[in-house]
Symmetry: C2
Subunit: 360 residues, 2 copies
């Protein structure tokens, strides 16, 4: 049953990207964000490769993701962005997870847990400085009772999240950094953790002591669209050829008859579609590659199949081919994102479960 789409993940490239970012960061530590199943690439092999390379701290979005990660990494620090919700306390303690404190109430809850366990369990404090999404406000951090709570916890990280770090000149970057420096002066026992992938490319004052890259580990550009992507390519996506067709009559291809064919034409039908994460918005834009030949997509992306033009490819090459390539250095994750009006993150997290993941 090998006739499925295959995403080949180069874990050595992920490690090389992590080392490249680490080299840009003079602080004490570079962590790794592996939420959403390591952006769709598969959290266990990715985390294993990074841990082997020396990464000791990981971030995930949810408790369920943290529990899954703990099952393969026994000693790493695992922090959970979503914060601790009602009824989750015992799971955090049992799996030795670091909850990110996003509210005063969560600080109180965790204090109570620590008192009950008679142990200063680590926690991170997240201060919101622009996102308005999760986190305590800078104003809350000035309250005496909140500071006292924060000081009483073994809170090993003080975090914020940049809203515009991929735009090096955005004024919010400096505003957020300055706000966090003020909070940090009130809580000097906490290790600061500010930088996402993009902020590694701002000067060191934006980093904090621990950085936590995500997208750039997976080869997505951390820079704006006018800059060359400094990261190594990580993924290759291939899909099986299901049928070669010779078209010798006038007609149309695909749903709603949007694309006309000009016989004589040869096409390949490939077993991947939007149910596998190839956005319908790529219709009439996407290319596939067969050896060095570039194949234009014909017609719409359907649920399970795509059709490509191979009229210009020598017949012997088409006949012996088993797969075509949809993503690699020639058509990158960021290229796919541009043609489907989104960002590389969504391209990767959309890849479906029928896509087999292989690791090299």
């Amino acid at each position: 049953m090998s006739n499925t789409p295959v995403l080949t993940v180069d874990t050595a490239a992920i490690v090389a990207n992590w080392q490249l970012l680490k080299a840009r960061h003079a602080g004490s530590e570079t962590a790794a964000v592996v939420k959403a199943d390591a952006y769709g690439l598969g959290v266990k092999p990715v985390a294993h490769a990074l841990a082997t390379a020396g990464c000791t701290r990981f971030f995930v979005a949810t408790l369920a993701e943290a529990v899954e990660l703990r099952s393969c990494l026994d000693v790493a620090h695992i922090a959970v962005f979503q914060g601790i919700l009602k009824g989750e306390e015992a799971d955090y303690v049992h799996h030795r997870l670091i909850p990110v404190m996003n509210t005063v109430q969560q600080l109180q809850t965790w204090k109570a847990v620590c008192d009950y366990e008679t142990s200063a369990l680590p926690a991170a404090i997240h201060v919101d400085t622009a996102m308005q999404r999760l986190g305590l406000t800078a104003r809350e951090m000035q309250r005496g009772d909140v500071l006292e709570l924060a000081r009483s916890l073994k809170a090993d990280m003080l975090m914020t999240h940049y809203a515009c770090a991929s735009d090096a000149y955005h004024p919010l970057n400096g505003i957020q950094r300055d706000a966090m420096q003020r909070v940090s002066r009130m809580l000097p026992h906490l290790t600061t953790c500010f930088a996402n992938s993009s902020a590694h490319f701002l000067d060191a004052s934006y980093h904090g002591e621990i950085t936590r890259p995500g997208c750039a580990l997976y080869g997505i550009t951390p820079l704006d669209e006018n800059s060359l992507n400094p990261m190594y390519s990580v993924v290759t996506l291939t899909a099986p050829i299901l049928q070669v067709r010779c078209i010798d009559e006038m007609g149309t291809i695909g749903y709603c008859a949007t694309t006309h064919v000009q016989p004589p034409m040869r096409t390949v039908t490939v077993g991947i579609g939007y149910a596998d994460g190839i956005s319908r918005q790529a219709s009439n834009q996407l290319y596939a590659y067969l050896e060095d030949y570039r194949l234009p997509l014909l017609g719409r992306v359907t649920m399970d199949m795509l059709c490509f033009d191979v009229t210009h490819v020598p017949e012997s090459i088409v006949e012996s081919a088993k797969t075509v390539t949809l993503m690699d250095t020639r058509q990158t994750v960021d290229d796919m994102a541009r043609m489907t009006h989104t960002i590389g993150y969504e391209v990767l997290t959309s890849l479906g479960k029928r896509v087999q993941r292989k690791y090299v």
Copy 2:
């Protein structure tokens, strides 16, 4: 660990939709298309509900899907659209699957398998009449050797796939039907299987003896956008509230600071994002519902979170709420599709694996 998004699937509504389509079809049988994990809803519970209601024939896209389905349905007919690829023969025989013959070569392969097994194993013959995707051409079906092969097989279905059936007035519908009637007269021992969901709403001459609805079973409209959806609603999507925020300072929400806030404002941050299948294209368009209150989305869809405006909702309701609703009859799958420039099929198949499926 219940703080995840939840997709509640009303299997009784799926059965009611199947019966509604069955009632529109005077022929011998109505099957069900359950490919792509029953369009993301979960193939095992969906197929089980339909089988209990009397459905005995199912269609999937790939061999892997067929093997999964066979593991929960021992006696049903299971046909595989993708057709039999090299090396898959033994799996088809072992799991008693019906391969869809898409090429002359596949006819020859299956004939050889039947000879080897000394048994006339069932197969379907797919004739392409407009899609140019998979299937034999009408011209190939006129060849003497092909007809002889087709007659020698215990081929229980003769299939085609309409390209434009949701547009009742599209001329291709009649062209495709007429082409299939010609093929059918040459192979009268085969049971015809033509109609997808939409073709149930064309006159009976378009149906064939067996119909095979997909999208309409799951509540997606089988009609054009100017017609009322005749199907029952099947899915409800909810997501957990992670934090309630009071905004009392001017500022922006979310990445790239695209949305300005007007204090005083209250928001909820909800634990679902594009990694769960909420397209980024829904940014600044989507609504959530809290009781009867409609909550506008603020800012962009992020990987794991959405922010909604609850300023107009009584504080007591917000404080006691645990979840918001993102899809039901008020904001349907088709509504989500319109706002994200796609079709309902892609909305459902995009729902990610962090979304817990519940069945009622």
